[in-house]
């Protein structure tokens, strides 16, 4: 039995795809240079046959700003990759207090943060005077931005805050997300 059936943290797919594609590009470049050199001069060929520019490294010194800069950039990229690997990342789901069931030994219920945003946006959209809604959420809070043609936005902001809070309170979350509302006036 798995410890958790629902994935709570990001799987780092985007950085992995980027690095894998970089691997493939380097492989294509290196492979092309190697095969071209072998085609020209046989199996004993040196890579400088097709990459004569490599000898230009003689003109570069370790102390040159371009070399130091390249080293720093590579080090920073490495540091970013290590941070992405070690840090768990933001939670992508909000836990729900699952009821006990005589038919289920381990019951795990959760809403993705995008679903919490959709719930909040739907609740805000039901308030009179709201013309457009945008909502974004993390595991702890929801930020709702509404657009209204009304000049005094304070009342709308309060009504939207109440509607969203009531809607989220009706769901039995492990931890209720806090609600923040921004109102913009636009005709």
């Amino acid at each position: 039995m798995s410890a958790h059936l629902l994935r709570a943290r990001p799987a780092r797919v985007v950085p992995s795809v980027i690095v894998a594609v970089v691997f493939l590009l380097v492989a294509v470049g290196l492979g092309w240079a190697g095969i071209a050199a072998i085609a020209q001069s046989g199996a004993e060929a040196a890579l400088t046959t097709t990459l004569p520019g490599v000898s230009g490294a003689e003109s570069l010194q370790w102390g040159m700003p371009i070399v130091i800069g390249a080293g720093i950039v590579l080090g920073v990229i490495g540091l970013i990759l290590i941070i992405l690997a070690i840090f768990p990342g933001p939670r992508r789901i909000v836990g729900f207090r699952a009821p006990t069931s005589e038919y289920i030994e381990q019951f795990e219920v959760a809403l993705p943060t995008s679903a919490v945003s959709d719930l909040a946006a739907a609740a805000a959209d039901s308030v009179d005077g709201v013309s457009r809604v945008r909502a974004s959420s993390n595991a702890r809070s929801t930020i709702v931005t509404v657009t209204t043609p009304v000049r005094d936005t304070a009342a709308i902001r309060s009504d939207v805050g109440q509607a969203v809070t009531d809607r989220l309170a009706a769901v039995d979350f492990d931890r209720q997300p806090s609600v923040r509302v921004h109102a913009q006036r636009r005709q």
């Binding site: 780092r12 992995s16 097709t50 370790w62 080293g71 490495g78 009821p99 959760a110």
Partner: protein, 198 residues
């Protein structure tokens, strides 16, 4: 609800990151002259010509092709890991004693039946189910999309009670684990819904 290769991704990112960090920091340290006391001749004024030497060796083109093949295999394998996996259960053997006959059911059949059952719940728009584990220890991973005005607590209670009871009686065993992910069904325009009055 499908499985991603989070562990493999993090391990490979750590390894690649560590290599980049060591090489990058080493180059910068050599540039600032910090390595000249450790490695003789690695002064900031010395050239990078030493790095070009392996390119002039015989058979270096062949070695480059081999390295390219290894890098390509790693890259393609890593990309292939990014495809989400269902990891559904193998066909479930439900019989008590194989000598008296075999009763086999595929996980997809159970999954579709549970999904159909879930879609009868009021407020549930659509459902996808994956059955994992074995016939003795079945696990269900469920994703349902519900209406934005649905009573989510009531839906979860019905899943825990009626749907779990039906699934468990179909499989003949209590469910070892159930993971339920609830999404909100996308409606094009919330303000334009038609209702039929009886």
């Amino acid at each position: 609800m499908r499985r991603m290769a989070a562990g493999a991704n993090r391990t490979l990112l750590f390894i690649v990151g560590l290599v980049c960090l060591i090489v990058g920091a080493g180059a910068a340290a050599a540039g600032f002259g910090f390595l000249s006391t450790i490695i003789a001749g690695l002064e900031p004024s010395s050239t990078l010509g030493v790095l070009a030497v392996p390119f002039t060796w015989s058979f270096s083109a062949l070695v480059a092709v081999l390295i390219a093949v290894v890098l390509a295999i790693i890259g393609i394998w890593w990309l292939s890991l990014q495809i989400p996996r269902k990891d559904a259960a193998k066909p479930l053997r439900l019989q008590q004693d194989a000598r008296t006959g075999l009763t086999t059911v595929t996980a997809n059949v159970i999954a579709e039946a549970v999904a159909d059952d879930l879609e009868t719940i009021e407020g549930v728009d659509s459902a996808q189910v994956i059955v994992r584990g074995t016939a003795r220890r079945p696990e269900l991973v469920i994703h349902i999309d519900v209406d934005d005005r649905a009573d989510i607590d009531a839906i979860v209670a019905e899943v825990a009670d009626r749907v779990a009871r039906n699934a468990s009686s179909a499989l003949g065993e209590p469910l070892a684990a159930v993971g339920l992910e609830i999404g909100i069904a996308r409606t094009p325009n919330r303000k334009q819904r038609s209702v039929t009055l009886a």
